[in-house]
Subunit: 303 residues, 2 copies
Amino acid sequence: MAERVTLLDVSARDGLQDEPCVVATEEKLAVARALHEAGVGEIEITSFVHPRWVPQLADADRLASQLPPGPHYTALVMNERGYERALAAFASHAAGGWGLVFVSSASPRHNQSNNNRSIEQTLEIFDAVAARARRDGVEIHGAIACSFVSPYADEQTDPAIVGGIARRYAEGGCTLITLADTIGRADPYTVATRIDQVAASLRVPLSLHLHDSFGYALANVYAGLLRGVRRFEGALAGLGGCPFAPGAPGNLDLERLNRFISACGLETGIDPTALARASDRIRSALCGAAPLPERKPTATAHQ
Amino acid sequence: MAERVTLLDVSARDGLQDEPCVVATEEKLAVARALHEAGVGEIEITSFVHPRWVPQLADADRLASQLPPGPHYTALVMNERGYERALAAFASHAAGGWGLVFVSSASPRHNQSNNNRSIEQTLEIFDAVAARARRDGVEIHGAIACSFVSPYADEQTDPAIVGGIARRYAEGGCTLITLADTIGRADPYTVATRIDQVAASLRVPLSLHLHDSFGYALANVYAGLLRGVRRFEGALAGLGGCPFAPGAPGNLDLERLNRFISACGLETGIDPTALARASDRIRSALCGAAPLPERKPTATAHQ
């Protein structure tokens, strides 16, 4: 039997948070159902940030409480307030059926724009949230934005910062660490090197969150596969980006990712035809979506 | 200094041979000049097949005789008649400034369509052409179409056939062997495996000729780089395909290839801005090109 690779869909979170419209909760639920029908077992569904910053995800509480059972859901939290909201919203879900994702950026400047504080201040908040998650038995993942390349031409990514965040996540009890190529500029040599650097210092499994600006994402997936990574993230229709990372393009298209992993002889358990239906579903949801409220966000959480 | 990777442009041969129009010789010469100005040192310029089969390349003799000095040129030959034409057409070029490419397909059925004979019959012709090339001191490369995946759903690629053709090429004096993914369906694991299989039995350097149907080409380039391949082929504007290989898409875009190799920290010596001008040049040449003559080709040489 072919070796298993897990794909995680981030359409409803990273995919929708930059769209100039607000997709209705019912439509997001329909997309989640379509993903489940296609065999997608992991869905990053929303972010518990203040609705002022990301009006596209203002329905996080209602959405989380109404999600169909089946997939494992994750949601971003940025602080203890978000943690409390997530805990309440997922209350009806079985323990182990959901978890949280905390995001910090390895680019000091991007972290300041994205989290509105320094990396160390962000990690102090992580420590507080993680302590509560451990006490409550809630699963927590750690994501590191800009793990490979800085969005700023005059800033070099410091592998020591990536490694430091990863260690802090591991010490806080994260069961998974996601390395994100926020601007889609990573090359496979850098991906391979960074995985080795991070993996050398901890035993937590890694996931890759790739954007596809220059079409390097699948080469980077292959670099990850060769390094033993068996979990990758993507979005339907290649949706998404990051308004606080200059030049950030869409996520790696989940259909392309699924096709590539299958072509490589590995098994995702995802039916390509049903996945195409899920893509159609989110495309039509976007067509019918209400325009974004007047006020534009100025700071929010992205990876 | 960064390690050097050689890129070979196949725009004028594999790129133009399937276009529904005939690009004027002067335009092809202008594209060759633009490629030279961009720093492209290797150009596969045409094919000495009968004009009946590929009217797009009917100007092979005149084109070859007028090429600007600078790049190293190669041209396809399918038989001794083509060899004689090439020898005459390149007569004014310095020895070592040009060479020939012989193509056989590893798919028996594709070879029958493409070369109009069996693989063994094709290799007997190769032996005769190679004997003359050795005697005349003419450089010869060997290309293997469908090296990774057959274009036919009910035909499996036989690595032993690929290895057999490669050995025959090496014995005939080929100084380079090109493995071609004619339909762009190869995955990087297969590319890596095939390179190992072929490289194990011979000492001739390998080149990869990749098409990009599913966007796997750059992942396959990375697989090649990891296996020590330092020569890759591409076409301006991702032109080209193969009418005798069902589903064959365009070649890997030379600009994307060049950008990717640079992103990987390797050096091609090609200026991306000047290369973009060469792309514009071939695009405008196609816009102004005469429609293809009435008679459609029914068999010809492709890889």
